[in-house]
């Protein structure tokens, strides 16, 4: 088990370097004129252009630029954004917000999905089952670019139940509506997987045994069915956490949340190489760590799985 974790962590280091290299190459290939992108419509004097080009090594070949970047990275320096701010500072501000948002979203989504999924898995074909089926289909077919502004308009502006935008350093209540919107991205699949899994396990032989043992229905479902059914759901939730952090781009933009997605969006638009690479690399690491945790949890839930 310990050796397995060490091996996975070492793999992570490799993946991190691979990811930064690929990202850097992609951003480099995409760059046309970052200085003009930074300045927007205004003209730039030759002087300023020269200073910026030198400061960010924009004229150097790709490998040299990557070398400078990695040198900084290995000494704990994520570099400076083209806007002149330290990227480490920007991250220290953005990550806590996004992590809070994503965790709220996943907790809401997973709770709804598991509770509703278990009920509809037990009562297949009931009204509850059919209503959740229709609702999940509706949610699944509404893209977040529609859902987010719509929720903002209805609940934030028309009804005034929630603050329509969030702003800097948001608390629990301010993030609630964005978290609901974000959670809706994954709630449908999680619910359907839970339902199928519960339905399948209810038909299994060991459930028949549990009933033959004279156990109560609550115990058969709550102890025997539930643990088996949740194994695939847990995996899915783990993958979803990563997806939610990356998928927060639109949500953070709409609700004006100064998180990772917000910064990434701006970085991509202004061809801000160091900014994009830094944020996405951390995103990759978080994705990998969450996946490792899910795999370990998987082994804890299912004794048949043992890591050597």
């Amino acid at each position: 088990m310990f050796r397995y974790i060490v091996r996975r962590l070492l793999q992570m280091v490799l993946t991190f370097f691979g990811a930064t290299f690929l990202l850097y190459a992609l951003v480099f290939a995409n760059q046309e004129d970052p200085i003009q992108a930074l300045a927007g419509e205004r003209p730039i004097t030759q002087n300023v252009r020269q200073v910026l080009t030198e400061r960010y090594h924009l004229d150097d070949p790709f490998l040299t630029q990557y070398w400078y970047y990695m040198k900084g990275l290995l000494t704990g320096d994520f570099g400076t954004s083209l806007t002149g701010r330290s990227i480490s500072d920007m991250m220290a501000q953005a990550w806590p917000t996004t992590i809070r948002l994503a965790l709220m979203a996943i907790i809401i989504a997973a709770t709804v999905a598991i509770v509703a999924g278990v009920i509809s898995g037990i009562r297949r074909g009931s009204i509850f089952d059919n209503v959740t089926l229709v609702l999940t289909l509706v949610i699944l077919s509404l893209p977040i670019v529609v859902l987010a502004p719509l929720t903002q308009l209805i609940f934030g502006i028309k009804l005034g139940w929630f603050p329509p935008t969030t702003g800097a350093d948001p608390g629990f209540f301010k993030l609630l509506m964005p978290a609901l919107v974000l959670g809706s991205l994954v709630v449908a699949t999680e619910l359907r997987v839970t339902r199928t899994s519960v339905a399948e396990n209810l038909r299994s032989d060991y459930v028949r045994t549990a009933r033959a043992k004279g156990l109560s229905r609550q115990r058969v479902i709550g102890v025997h069915v539930l643990r088996n059914s949740l194994i695939p759901v847990i995996t899915l939730i783990g993958v979803d956490i990563g997806q939610l952090m990356a998928g927060a781009i639109v949500t953070e933009q709409v609700f004006n949340i100064p998180g990772v997605g917000f910064n990434l969006f701006r970085g991509i638009r202004t061809e801000d190489g160091p900014l994009v690479v830094g944020f996405v690399s951390i995103l990759v690491i978080i994705f990998l760590v969450v996946n490792l945790l899910v795999d370990l949890l998987y082994a804890a839930l299912d004794p048949r799985i043992r890591y050597e």
């Binding site: 038909r203 060991y206 009933r211 033959a212 109560s216 025997h224």
Partner: protein, 344 residues
């Protein structure tokens, strides 16, 4: 400590003189989208303490469904018990409310399933799954339940029971897993044990060990044993009485010696003739022509008539043959049982 066994003994209708288990005219059907499958169409048999009754029949003849109906663990829907009684010492189990019915399971009537790997929960240790019975039915603490579980594993002759109690089902071999299954069924000292093809998934030497173990435990406890099987060899070894099922009906019920010596139903006869014999070496095996009927379309009259060499017009029309008394204690559902018994 709660004594659930005593609660059942106090139920109204309990008759110490009545047979241990009496199944009368049991009908079970499965209502599916493709129509109604009549899985059991009149199963009758009785069981005495210490007796072994074998239910014999091909796959899909309703053996397992009968067992599940007796246990009350049919999946409803789609399975429904439409007629008949299942009496445990005179109490009609089918009329008991679910809460009472639940106490009968494992306490009085327990069941062993065919494939122990899928019948045991993969994510809980064997000790947990055994101990659960003592904790929920006897109100024992975790510690006491664990002690009892180790004793049980010891009784079913699992080596090193103390260390194996924390193992999971997948860590046991097939034979050992079936022993765990048996331990689980016997945990609360039931009076009736239903074993649904307990040895089908095992290889031959292990089969013999398991059957011996079952026989020993049955003798020790004077349990009634219902053994569901399609293995004629197993039947001859252990059975006291045999019920032969075909298309959901018990077509013949008789003491084991009589049935092997002189079958009274053409189906039983055909089954016995299809056993490979050493003195028939080199000859072609006898087979029963055709296939059993689909349970959604059971033929009128005697369900066996399309495959029967004795069949006449009477057999093709309703009503189907009633259980004729061939001898006291022996029935056969065949209009021509006299001919069948008489034939050599």
């Amino acid at each position: 400590m709660t004594d659930i066994k005593a609660e059942i003994d106090a139920l109204p209708g309990l008759d110490p003189q009545a047979p241990l288990l009496d199944v009368n005219d049991l009908h079970v059907e499965f209502r599916t989208r493709d129509g109604v499958a009549r899985a059991v169409n009149g199963a009758n048999f009785t069981l005495k303490p210490g007796e072994t009754l074998c239910i014999l029949g091909e796959s899909g003849c309703g053996k397992s469904v009968t067992a599940q109906a007796i246990m009350g663990i049919l999946d409803t829907p789609p399975g429904f018990i439409t007629e008949g009684q299942v009496r445990y010492r005179g109490i009609d189990l089918l009329k008991l409310p679910e809460a009472e019915r639940r106490k009968v399971r494992a306490n009085h009537i327990a069941m062993i399933f065919q494939d122990a790997l899928s019948a045991l929960n993969p994510v809980y240790s064997v000790g947990f799954q055994l101990g659960e019975l003592f904790r929920k039915h006897r109100g024992m603490s975790r510690g006491d339940a664990k002690k009892r579980s180790i004793e049980l594993l010891d009784q079913v002759r699992i080596p090193a029971a103390r260390s194996r109690v924390t193992d999971y089902p997948h860590q046991f071999s097939g034979g050992m897993r079936q022993r765990v299954m048996i331990a689980m069924a016997l945990a609360l000292d039931p009076e009736v044990l239903i074993a649904d093809e307990p040895t089908t998934a095992l290889d031959v030497t292990v089969q013999a060990q398991i059957m011996n173990l079952l026989a020993d435990l049955q003798n020790e406890r004077n349990m009634g044993l219902i053994l569901i099987t399609h293995d004629m060899g197993v039947v001859a070894d252990v059975a006291d009485r045999i019920s032969v099922m075909y298309a959901g009906k018990v077509v013949e019920e008789a003491p084991v010696y009589d049935i092997y010596a002189r079958p009274a139903h053409p189906y039983t006869r055909a089954l016995l003739e299809s056993i490979p014999r050493l003195d028939h070496k080199g000859r072609q095996l006898n087979v029963i022509r055709g296939l059993p009927p689909a349970l959604t379309a059971i033929p009128d009259g005697c369900a066996f008539h399309p495959r029967c060499s004795y069949a006449k017009d009477d057999c093709r029309q309703d009503p189907p043959p009633p259980p004729y008394a061939v001898q006291p204690n022996r029935t056969a559902r065949c209009h021509f049982w006299r001919e069948v018994v008489g034939d050599e």
